[in-house]
């Protein structure tokens, strides 16, 4: 069974949602507190949404120095899956595990609503159960979601196919596709190896039919299919 460590930072608030989403897909979830230093043999790590340290200073800026982050960085370097949703994505960028940064929404307002997104990359541990190009409707809830990076970094992401999920024009009436002014409509990216994925939308909030759709479940279903590589090579 896939063992998934869900990290709890002070101020995280989506960790129960992620935990439940993992368990519903048949995984085994457990919390790891920010002060711990060991991931207890987790197969995968989720940095959940919320407001770690109140998002004071910058979203994710303080959490990334938590003791547990060293272990998360090693886990990532070993090629094992790490995902950050919303605040988790912000922490991944702040810590340098993913390039770029997430700035205040261009509207200057918090935005909570569904958005339509296209899955651009399916060869990651978190998106393999989607079809490439598939459009899903999924909620966002953030004040700092405007993905920003230099043109070189953006070009690199595009050329290497590292944009995992992108805001697109879907069917929503009178709601712009891009909810926050993100560069190139980027909603989520991965590292070149594909094992580290961050995204602003909240797949863990759509893990049940009753909640309008179950479009998010496949993020977790993907993870359940992921197999720990027999041999990890460190180049």
């Amino acid at each position: 069974m896939t063992r998934v460590a869900v990290i709890r930072f002070p101020g995280s608030n989506c960790e129960p949602d992620a935990y439940r989403a993992v368990e519903r897909e048949g995984g085994s979830a457990f919390y790891v507190f920010h002060r711990e230093t060991d991931l207890r043999d987790a197969d995968a790590v989720i940095l959940p949404g919320g407001f770690s340290y109140g998002d004071y200073l910058r979203s994710g800026a303080i959490a990334r120095f938590s003791p547990i982050m060293a272990a998360v960085e090693r886990h990532a370097a070993d090629g094992k899956p790490v995902a950050g949703f919303c605040n988790g994505f912000q922490i991944l960028c702040e810590s340098g595990l993913l390039p770029g940064g997430l700035m205040r929404n261009a509207t200057l307002k918090y935005v909570s609503r569904p958005v339509d997104c296209r899955i651009e990359r399916t060869d990651t541990p978190f998106t393999s159960a989607y079809r490439t190009g598939e459009v899903i409707r999924i909620p966002v809830g953030h004040g700092d979601g405007r993905y920003t990076a230099s043109d070189e970094v953006l070009d690199h992401l595009e050329n290497r196919g590292l944009v995992v999920i992108r805001y697109v024009e879907g069917g929503l009436l009178d709601a712009p596709a891009n909810p926050n002014g993100s560069a190139r409509n980027i909603a989520g990216i991965s590292n070149p190896e594909g094992n580290v994925v961050g995204m602003m939308p909240h797949p863990e909030r759509l893990a049940h039919d009753l909640l309008g759709s179950n479009a998010g479940t496949r993020v977790f279903a993907s993870l359940m299919r992921w197999k720990r590589p027999a041999l990890v090579t460190n180049s």
Binding site: G54, Y56, L57, A61, I62, F65
Partner: protein, 83 residues
């Protein structure tokens, strides 16, 4: 003449400053224990055309009073720099 105006808007003394507290805590954790009394506010910069330095300062003060700072919760300081 054009001036560059720097405005610093800080939480009024005595009011809770949760951001300042969080940053102070983070600095401590990062082994910068010597930083104390940390406060976080807003920095605003702009170019301003005015007859002279004092006219620029007067205009900037008016902007702070009217818009840039919240008189109930914030104090501000203005620096006027010729450009």
């Amino acid at each position: 003449m054009t001036f560059r105006i720097h405005v610093r808007v800080m939480p009024r003394r005595g009011l809770l400053d949760p951001q300042g507290q969080a940053v102070e805590g983070a600095l401590k954790a990062l082994k910068f224990p010597d930083a104390t009394n940390v406060h976080v506010g807003r920095a605003i910069e702009f170019d301003l055309v005015a007859a002279d330095q004092s006219a620029a300062a007067t205009a900037a003060r008016a902007m702070c009073a009217k818009l840039l700072a919240n008189p109930v919760t914030e104090d501000y300081e203005i620096e006027v720099e010729p450009k």
